[in-house]
Amino acid sequence: MEVDLIQIKNLKTYFFQGKGLLSKWFGQGLKIVHAVDGVSLTIKKGRTFGLVGESGCGKSTLGNTIFRLVEPLEGEVLFQGHDVVKMDQKELREFRQKSQIIFQDQFGCMNPRMTVGQIIAEPLMMRQGKQKNHQDISQEVAELLSAVNLDPDAAVKFPNEFSGGQARRIGVARAIALNPMFIMADEPTSGLDISTAATILNLMQDLQEKMDITYLWVSHNLNQVKYMSDDMAVMYLGKVVEMGQTKEVFDQMAHPYTRALISAVPQVSTGEQKQTIFLKGEIPSPINPPSGCYFRTRCPQVFKRCEEEEPPLLDLGGGHFCACHLHDGH
């Protein structure tokens, strides 16, 4: 039985530039960055949801908005039916115990003057108040460290004594400290060697199985998303252009952008040559997105209607959605 853990409805996060006094006097007026522009999606419990797209497409902002690290302009984020956007401080604190983030720059997330033990103990102290004694907490820290295959002795060391792969493990240990239901992993293996990345992926899969965690997997590595995720969404300029079960999306790529993105991934092949679709230019600025379909400026299959009308996200059947006029039947 599949239960929806997170439902996002028409979420919009805009950033405003030029609000300051100097910009008012000398600037060209208010500029609006459409970082997340009307995204709706559903993350099912116990599964991994992959979110892919080029840098600047809004995938990290979407993730941050779910946790209300960034306030949305409008829309809903339902976590087990409760709207995160409307939560007060107390509810938000409870929500944030059930959901955790593993950030890309793991060293940036750790205080260099705290030992790893202190870093991992912090969420535990927050949960338990001061009545829990140190013995219990250091016991728990040791268990967490061994859960991520690190030596419990690591607790007395400082972050700079660890390699990139080990730092990620510490990040994972801290994220699972409070038994969360939901973890967002933002580029969890970027900058790691192939073999080290493989250990992190294995670890996170094991934890998912053991603790029934739901992942939001934000990455631009399509090979990894294909391997890790059950469902996925492809974002472009703040909008979801294609969404569905990962297998479905890869087998029957419907949107020209998805096709180009997947074809551009370098593959180790030993036989046939694959055809790479080269996109023209780069992702346009989210301040002045193109009219109609946002992708039309780079799309190899562009036609007249794309300029005039914004394509809606249509169900192609079986929960496979695509926002492209090519699939509109007209």
Partner: protein, 339 residues
């Protein structure tokens, strides 16, 4: 018949850090033919970037080349004077592009200034007494920028680096690096920081321009997928040694060294969902405490007694396919079943 452009033989290099001596390159020998692309792959710390810098002699002072030759068109680069390197080689015949282009561009100068600087120096050494003027160099810079696929180069040349995206900056670097005079391009993780769509564009650009000018490329990366698509030959390095080398198809298709086989097995693209990825046990050893014998033996489940004692030589095990694994050499062809 292919002509060799670069022949490196037995290149051995140490980093001397106080009382610690790290052997970063250990008897590296390979050749790169004219117009070919040689891919260098390996995990971080295996010496692949050191190799690129050693060829250009751009290493920090703690590095010491113990022995070996780097023959470039028959001349040993290690024997040239610093002045000759500067005049004839660096930025002239051999150029390099790096992973982070913003570090290679000065933020306070316009793209034009930075490109014409290079052109001026190249011109000074290549045509002494030339009377080219600023206008000519600017024109040349615009042409170079245009050839890298940047739209409206005449206007963009007056921009500052911060006005360019990461992909465009890398295009500028390529424009500066590749010209008719360049015969060898060292690309060190040139596309690692870019999005896949931009990466594909940049790699195509490098290949096209290299074809146009007949430039050979030493392409350093940890992305085996990129090498599979770009390289004619591949070299796999580990802890300062070459473990395997050969035609791309044969190295990736029939790896003879267990380490190469393991690298391929740990790629998520090779595995279906739900199956575990291969994670090689243990870590890359620190270079000042390399294990005896084959430096990979503590992590290799196939290792036998001889692997602990004998350093495996790099031997041609098949036509044009070299490998440094004792088991493969002494027990005959092995199938490396890691999982």
């Amino acid at each position: 018949m292919a002509e060799p452009l670069l022949e490196v033989s037995k290149l051995t290099l140490d980093y001397n850090l106080g009382n610690r001596k790290m052997r970063a390159l250990d008897r590296i020998s390979f050749r790169l033919d004219k117009g070919q692309v040689l891919g260098v792959a390996g995990e971080s710390g295996c010496g692949k970037s050191t190799l690129g810098l050693a060829i250009l002699r751009l290493l920090p002072r703690v590095a010491e080349i113990r022995r070996g030759e780097v023959l470039f068109n028959g001349t040993d680069l290690l024997k040239l004077s610093e002045e000759q390197m500067e005049r004839e080689i660096r930025g002239q015949k051999i150029t390099m592009i790096f992973q982070v282009p913003q570090n290679a561009l000065n933020p306070v100068f316009k793209i034009e200034t930075q490109m014409t600087d290079i052109l001026r120096v190249q011109d000074k050494y290549q045509n002494p007494g030339s009377r080219k003027r600023r206008k000519d160099f600017r024109q040349q810079a615009i042409e170079r920028l245009g050839s890298t696929g940047i739209a409206d180069p005449a206007a963009r040349v007056s921009n500052y680096p911060f006005e360019f995206s990461g992909g465009m900056k890398q295009r500028v670097m390529i424009g500066m690096a590749l010209s008719s005079g360049t015969s060898l391009l060292l690309a060190d993780e040139a596309t690692t920081a870019l999005d896949v769509t931009i990466e594909a564009q940049i790699n195509r650009l490098i290949t096209e321009l290299a074809d146009k000018y007949g430039t050979s490329i030493l392409y350093i990366t940890h992305n085996l997928g990129v090498l599979s698509e770009m390289a004619d030959r591949i070299m796999i390095m580990y802890a300062g040694r070459i473990f395997e080398m050969g035609q791309t198809q044969s190295v990736l298709g029939n790896p003879r060294h267990p380490y190469s086989a393991a690298l391929l097995e740990s790629l998520p693209s090779r595995q279906t969902k739900g199956k575990r990825l291969l994670a090689i046990p243990g870590f890359v050893p620190p270079l000042d405490r390399l294990p005896s014998g084959c430096s990979f033996h503590p992590r290799c489940p196939f290792a036998e007694e001889m692997c602990r004692q004998e350093v495996p030589p790099l031997i041609e095990v098949d036509k044009g396919h070299w490998s440094a694994c004792l088991l493969d050499q002494k027990r005959g062809r092995q199938k490396w079943k890691w999982i």
